[in-house]
Amino acid sequence: MNSTKVQYNTRLQKVFWIFRKHRLGLVGLVLTILLVLVAIMAPYIAPYDPYDQDIMKRFTPPVWHEGGSTEHILGTDHVGRDLLSRVIYGARISMSVGIFAVSIAASIGIVLGLLAGHFMGTTDRIISYFIDMMMAFPYVLLAMALVAVFGASFTNVFIVLGITTWPIYARVTRTEVLRIKEMDYVLAARAFGMGRIKIIVSEIFPNLFNSIIVVCTVQTAFVIISESFLSFLGLGVQPPIPSWGGMLSEGRAYMLEMSWLATIPGLAIFFAAIGINLLGDGLRDFFDPYKRKQI
């Protein structure tokens, strides 16, 4: 028990050591951890209730603008809600959509990819056909149409984003399985008489981890941007819930005079996406043995 713990620690230290050399990856790691912390700690760090309206203080500019006050550091929106608090709570929406949608998509994609790659033949042909077909869809439109069918709500958004983005996981998993199953250790397992399902679960699946974790990271950023667009169109998370896309959409109406109302939520989406993408890049380099030697 003790020895595994020590091993884990050294591995974690190794990750940090490598990330220290990969500076952009480190920036990504820090930004992502920050995002997660903000999302978790929202009730403790937000200065105001994100739903509290104070109509007398509407359109207070951010502190660096003329007329801004330290009372509302990022200013207030069109009904006088504190923008900083809404941005902080918005991180919760984005992170939950990112985590849930990616979990749904990855689960569907990995299972289908494993089946296609391992069993080949007709199973592979059918699954590959579905992958190709789903990939041919303008995915935003599919998501929009599905939201129109099921109704716009927080839960529906991540379900829809989950069931429309699985093909990428399936494709990556399938390619990886095709590669891994030719490896000597899989042949050895087969020679020992291990069953097909057991081989998938104990030999192939653990070795998929590296590629899948990279896809998951990059897709999280993608899903967060997609959610914000759906919410921007009014097809996503519904007001008054503070989602970054929804705030952007509300701010758009006042963009000419009060540009911060649209730029601040946009910057939040941007920093979340860049952080997660940088982390994904770092992980990709970390898992790629050829590049690991160079960093």
Partner: protein
């Protein structure tokens, strides 16, 4: 060669059929009665029944699919109830602006993406590599609809260099300079994201090629570095980059939905956003089907170009 093209073309049919099934059944799932939506809440039961029969809504859903498909094959996409005109006319009117926007963006992102990709690969780990890799990543991480808003704010509102929205000026517009003037900002915004993707893939493709023996041979022969990179390495890397550009063509068309909404560009994306919110089912079905077909065709063209560049590649 012809055999390959025909085979590839035949593979389109099941994909397009599958897409039509998904498009049809998603829209058929939409709750609510279209007849009621058209006639309003004061319609009599008799009128509703008549309209349902007219629209074919009284038939089972599978039968409706085959009727719809049969009509599609004859070029009849049905009629939009909000616009009161044939779906195909509306879709074709909107397709031009979308293809113009997406095409311009695709040309821009291919040029920038390839250039950046080659530069970063050649100067691997140099400052150029770091700088452009970061820029490419910034592009990928920026929500394009927000970038559009920011660019409008900066270049249209503050600096007044470009128009805020639309495709032509309301008064006195309509000529080519006017179109280009309106096209610049949305095309650049749309290209920004795709440039990052193409640049990254070009970089990794070039790096792989630059490690190969024939590049070493070319250098050993004493060819100029420029010739080695552009004539030998780039040409070979292109084989793997072309399909990526094909996929990007699809993404750019999908991305046009974001950009058209922000810039009020009269394309198919904006039409679909409106059609989805007004539940104009036939218009959505027709529009999505046409966009998906464009996507599939772009990929096909990319595959064919790849095959022309390297005839060894088969299905």
């Amino acid at each position: 060669m012809v055999g390959y093209f025909l085979k590839r073309l035949a593979m389109l049919i099941p994909v397009l059929l599958g897409i039509s099934v998904i498009v049809f059944f998603i829209m058929a799932l939409i709750p609510g009665d279209p007849a009621q939506a058209i006639l309003g809440s004061y319609a009599t039961a008799e009128n509703l029944a008549n309209l349902r029969a007219d629209l074919g809504l009284d038939k089972p859903v599978f039968q409706r699919y085959f009727i719809w498909l049969g009509n599609l094959l004859q070029g009849d996409f049905g009629s939009s109830y909000t616009l009161n005109r044939p779906v195909i006319d509306e879709v074709l009117d909107r397709l031009g602006p979308t293809l113009l926007l997406a095409g311009t963006a695709l040309v821009l992102c291919s040029i920038f993406g390839l250039l950046i990709g080659v530069i970063t690969a050649v100067k691997q780990y140099g400052w150029q590599d770091r700088f452009f890799t970061l820029i490419a990543l910034l592009g990928i991480s920026t929500p394009s609809f927000w970038l559009g808003l920011v660019l409008i704010l900066a270049f249209a509102v503050k600096l007044n260099w470009f128009p805020v929205s639309g495709m032509f000026a309301v008064y006195g517009g309509g000529d080519l300079p006017d179109l280009l003037y309106h096209l610049a900002l949305p095309a650049l915004t749309l290209a920004a994201v795709a440039t990052g993707v193409i640049a990254r893939l070009t970089r990794s493709g070039m790096l792989e090629i630059l490690r190969q023996d024939f590049v070493l041979t070319a250098r050993a022969k004493g060819l100029s570095e420029r010739k080695v990179i552009w004539h030998h390495a780039f040409k070979n890397a292109l084989v793997n980059i072309v399909p990526v550009i094909g996929i990007q063509a699809g993404f750019v068309i999908g991305g046009a939905v974001y950009i058209e909404t922000v810039f009020q560009w009269p394309g198919i994306g904006r039409m679909l956003v409106t059609a989805i919110t007004t539940r104009d089912i036939l218009l959505v079905q027709g529009g999505v089907l046409v966009v998906a077909t464009c996507y599939v065709v772009f990929n096909l063209v990319a595959d064919m170009v790849q095959h022309l560049l390297d005839p060894r590649i088969s299905i």
